[in-house]
Amino acid sequence: MRTKIKSILALLLIFVTATSCDDYLDLRPEDGIVREEFWKTKEDVQAAVIGIYSSLLKKPPGAQIPTNGTDYNISEYLFMYGEIRADMISPAGFVTLDQRDITTSNILSSNDLTSWAAFYRVINYCNTVIELAPAVRESDPTLSQAQLNNYLSEALAIRAYLYFTLARTFKDVPLKLNATLSDMDNFQLAKTPQNEIFEQVIKDLALAEEYAVTDYGNIPSNKGRITVYAINAMQADVYLWTDRYTEALTAADKVISSGKFELIPASNSWFSRVFAEGNTTESIFEFQYTTQNLNPFYDMFLQRPEFIASPVVLEDVFGVDFADPTNRDIRGERSSLVAGTNEIYKYTGLNMDDRKSLQESDTHWFVYRYSDVLLLKAEALTQLDRGAEAVAIIEDIRTKRRAISLTAQIVNPASKSEVTDYLLAERAREFAFEGKRWFDVLRNARRKDYDRLDLLKNMALISAPADQLQTILAKLEDPNSHYLPINEYEMYTNKALVQNPFYK
């Protein structure tokens, strides 16, 4: 009897403990894919590349935000970095304290706009594709080398563009070119000087150009994904920042000579075609917001306006012909802004009369348009002492946009400074609220060791509150102040970083 019980007890013990513990505890998520199972087919590579684009439009679900930070979408950062320190926008009713602080040049490293988290997040997605996609060819032979190269080109170009933006905004930033995989990796990266970042951008763009797609076979993809022309436009831009004007000219000419782009003549439907609908022959690269994936600007400019056009924009930038109200720059009233309220209209208008409703607020974010390439070319020409050609490009655009004579400038083509002024004024009209203004002025101001610092100061004269003008002008004397500080959050999480000396 006893032995019987004991033997059964022993049996029972075996029953309970026999299940292999490790098998029992090895659980995998049921509603996600783990890396070990991903990266097997060409569809996986495509999905990861599309993920990069999606992350430019909106932050991914569940993405975490730095402590005390606000995580804007990339397109919002692009808007704010390009406009908030310049002279074309003013704070509106729903502006945040941090946003207001930047407009008044009261910039502290605790300001949440100085967070670059969103940029490095997308950079990591690019790095992941660049690092892990090539191995997919081993498991999926149907992925051709050409196809793989196309995907790599997209990732490389987007990474380059993001680093380009970071270097223009923060000057020196850490350069991370490998994917973040495990918590064993080292993230303590020191800053890389701005010029080296630009070099890396140039290098990446060169490789991307080699691998790039010229035609995806449909217009939305040609405008919404990286093509060789988008890469060339970026090249023209970055070469201008590095004072390599011949290369800039060549890159711009590649786009122009492709014959795939042209300016659309002014008409009542010009605004609605170019902006409200998008993907026109004027467009090179646009973030493709849709009615299923609305842009963030409806809220930012219309529902809870954070910014409005600065009061001077309508009269000083576009000009008003009081004698003939119908004589209007097509890019001004009811295109860039609404007269009277100074509401920013570019991203919310349906046509020149009506606004879109919230549900159809799908206006794209315009990264590069054809006119950008033309004006970048004009800038290169100016610096190459071919001012007359530059002025010709400006005049051509002015004609096509029905710019009013009030804003025309008679410039001496031989004077770089006069042409530059005219060019910047034209760029202000052409790219109003497209996140270009601050970078345009800064790029021209910093040339030849800040030869044109007056450009930045003039901008401050227009936009700065009267009581802070002197302080702001004094701050602008230090070139380091032209760049944002590194967020304090980065400073303590990355011991290798050194703060921009202006903000120490």
Partner: protein, 1094 residues
Amino acid sequence: MKQKITNLLYRFSFALIILAALPSFAQDSKGNLVRGQVVDSGDNLPIPSATIVEQDSENRTVGGVLSDIDGNFAIHLKNPNNKLLVSFIGYKSKVVSINGKTSIKIALVSTITSLDNVVVTGQKKVESGLLNIAERNKTTSSVTIKAADIANSQAASIDEQLQGRIAGVDIIASSGDPGAGMQIKIRGASSISGSSSPLIVVDGMPYETSVPADFNFGTADDEGYAALLNIAPSDIDTITIDKDAAATALWGSRAAGGVIIINTKRGGISAPKISYSFVGTRTKVPDALPMLNGDQYSQLIPEEFMNRDGVPLNTQNIKEFQYDPQEVYYYKNYSNNTDWTKAISQIGLIHDHNLSLQGGGQRARYFSSVGYYNSKGVTIGTGMERITTRLNLDYVVSDRIRFKTDIAYTFSSTDRNYVNNFSDSKDKDLLRSVSYGKMPNMGIFEYDQSGVLTPNYFSPAQNVQGGYPGTYNPVAMAEFATNNQVSNRVVPHFNINVDIIPQRLISTFDLQFDFNSTKAKSFLPQNATGRPITETVVNRASDVDVDLANISTKTNFIYTPDFGEKQNLSVLLSLQSNDSRYESHQVITSNTASSLLTDPSNPSRTQNSELNLYTSNSQTRTIGSLLNAQYGLLDRYIVNVGLRADGNSRFGQENRYGLFPSASARWRVSGESFMQNISWIDDLSVRLSYGQSGKAPKYDYRYYNVYGNFPSEYLGLNGVYPQNIELSNFRWETLTGKNLGFNFQMFNKRVQLDVEIYRNTTKDMIFQDLDITTVSGYSKMDQNVGTMDNQGWELGLFTTPIKTDKWKVEFNFNIASNQNMIREISEYFPNESGNTDRNGEYKRFLQKDNPFGSFYGYRFKGVYTDKEATLAKDANGNVITGPNGQTVYMRFNYPNTDYTFQPGDAIYEDINKDGNIDSRDVVYLGNSNPKLTGGFGPNIIFNNQFKLLLFFNFRMNYDIINGTDMTTTNMHGWGNQSTATLSRWRNPGDKTEMPRAVYNAGYNWLGSDRYVEDASFVRLRSVTFSYSFGKKLLRSLRMDEVRTYLTADNLYTWTKYRGQDPEVSMSSGPFGIAIDNSRTPPTSRFSLGITTRF
């Protein structure tokens, strides 16, 4: 996966069946007739219908008959060696051996007489689910409370009743609303982040109280878990709190925060007893902070605006302050004196009914209860309804086999305000705080264009204060917007207890299922916010389903060899497993066609980042095995050692298993021969213990790099992205505790003193979502960040100073002190927090080997009366002049902010005398860690009928930041302010302590000592007066017990603190400080209760 569980289950059930069947193998039957008669031993009259049961050697029932009207019976015995058990209600059961007799006469003794000579023997043992050790032999620090001792105060849950009663156990409510959870901390926060909640063990099995990782629909935060609520307080028999690590180590991986062992009531051998109790409570929010009325507010705002830059408020545009009777609509709607806070408050009412039935016989015992709890909160739109049912069955098959089956079911439905957002720890009661800041010149109801009052709530889409979510009409919000959470929880628990070798080797098997299904529905109608119909906050409907399924098993083998009188040994082997699944579905849509269509299934929209369709599921498994032995020698030297191994599916293979040893000992000094002569000492013991317990992270699957999908397509294609960093280097957090304790019992147990000194060290602290450099592409990552100590002491004193036939006075006192400090920390952990360049923030530093809770800021020195006063002065008091001889005025944060102080601005002490107020002028202001906490109170009992119970709790020596004062006197925005601002600076020469009003500018409310106050307090937490009916009366009513009582909670607080409530919890982590943002003092409650038993 599923198959594995089923497999496991099969194995268990198979094992159970075998074990249950085991002893019956030994059966063999042989007919044998016995006749007899059952009579009353007193008068020798026959007892009809008595039960005669045949039992085998293990007291297992084999057969049975009833006696007839003459008390006669006849039974066929299956085995002549079996015994007969004869029982009848009102008589003591009797066992008769047959020994071959064929006729037998059995006399039963009436229990009425037998009750007199009952002698209680044995030692107090409380079921712990592991080794059951008598209280007096415990080698670890733990406290057991009989629920009956604390059953008087009105509380929805037992945690609320425990508040302040046990030294070292800190319980604080997360919100005053019905159904809100409690935060329980045993000996301070053991963990640097996330929850330090203790493990709850109910009837021997761990009880799930954790909130799933993505459970974020505005119900409960991590720490405030309402789950404990689901056990009706009246069902609870005892609560044991294990405080030291040697005790908690036995529970292993979830026990780092301490263990609370709850045992529910069970039936005993008795006639059926019915108990009914009722408690009715009236709660009321005491008068809140006095705020400006509409007229005073309308004076403040234009002044505040004008002070910014000299531009007057343009009342042509901002008609809220125009007061022009020609503009009828604005004039009528914006010339009121509304007390918004009062408008959303109501008297709360709670009624709580409990009905229970318990009883049983030799074989089967039962306890069954039904409870109904209904509470209406003090804010309109809040309330809770709960039904709890429980059935605890015990069946004694034989001396060797016992079954227990418990089923508990709870239904609860909680109504909250829509805007109470618990996911963000900062705003727990948005509705109330909006009501405080709301313009008092606005009316609750709207006047139409011709000035006629309409019955519609006045909800403009926005006005000068802004729109939703910043502000709204709080009354409309409370009334119309809904936020309801319904949960159903069923917990069946099966237990079989088999004595494999009687007295020597005992085994128990437990199987517990726990199904918890929660549905949360909320709806935000247009008329609550007034926002335009196209916005996605209009008619926003959400529906969330969360299902949790838990299967736990436990197998115990307890071996107790016989070593004679002088020694005793118990060895336990326990094997435990848990499989927990979680599934959730969430839908949030907006713009349903009407405010009456409140379900997301109606045609509505989802295209917005806040609106989504979301599902998630996850699974966690744990296994644990424990070897534990308790050895006692001569009743004086007691040693307990344990070793627990745990495995958890949340770790990668490298770090999956944890080993948690423990050892503890007790030396009963009073048992030594040299102490024998000291008769007044009943027990004097010294205890020493050491143990480890662990903590696993909160999230599953983190050791994989998981890829997720974007919700929307790009160019018709789906995008995928890596969601997290693979955590290969992530380890168990272990808590190592050392405890030295003394137990002292004197004067016939009239005085009992427990003293504990402890140090708990948490190593490899898990920090959830520690910031990492975003250069990595991610913002946060879970990491093991360092080592933290919790150290302190506790003292509990239980005395009975008076004990006579009529009077009994008890006095209990507990006091504790705990300090939290970092010993070692990752260099990437931020070492400071708070930006003193901004209004309203205090600086906190993380300093190794220093206690948490210190904060730093400026020193407030009053208000600049005029321009002259703002001149910058150096250390000698001379006016500072600039390089060109110009006068220099005091500035703030030059050169970054460079604000020049104006007359009427707050003066901050210029510590370094450089004419510039900046971070160099920041000084130490205080510490919000209470030096001492505790409670005390007498219980006075007269004649066992009248009872007066008083309970006080206290906290001593700590500073808190009066956040309420800050937000209601900063005069910085459009929000309403307190009446204290009436004394503000207005004109040069004004001498006051209240700075001028400046809209959105100035630095008048920097973190300074102006808001820091000593918040030590003593509070009369509860007073209960209870009366039990006398025996005579009861007998005539045919009842066993009738007791009525009256309880008042939160009657009075003695404190110097000027704010509403000095009992403010410190937020967790090294930067936690106590900030009092509550503008409402704790609700005072009056309850009337009645308990009956018959």
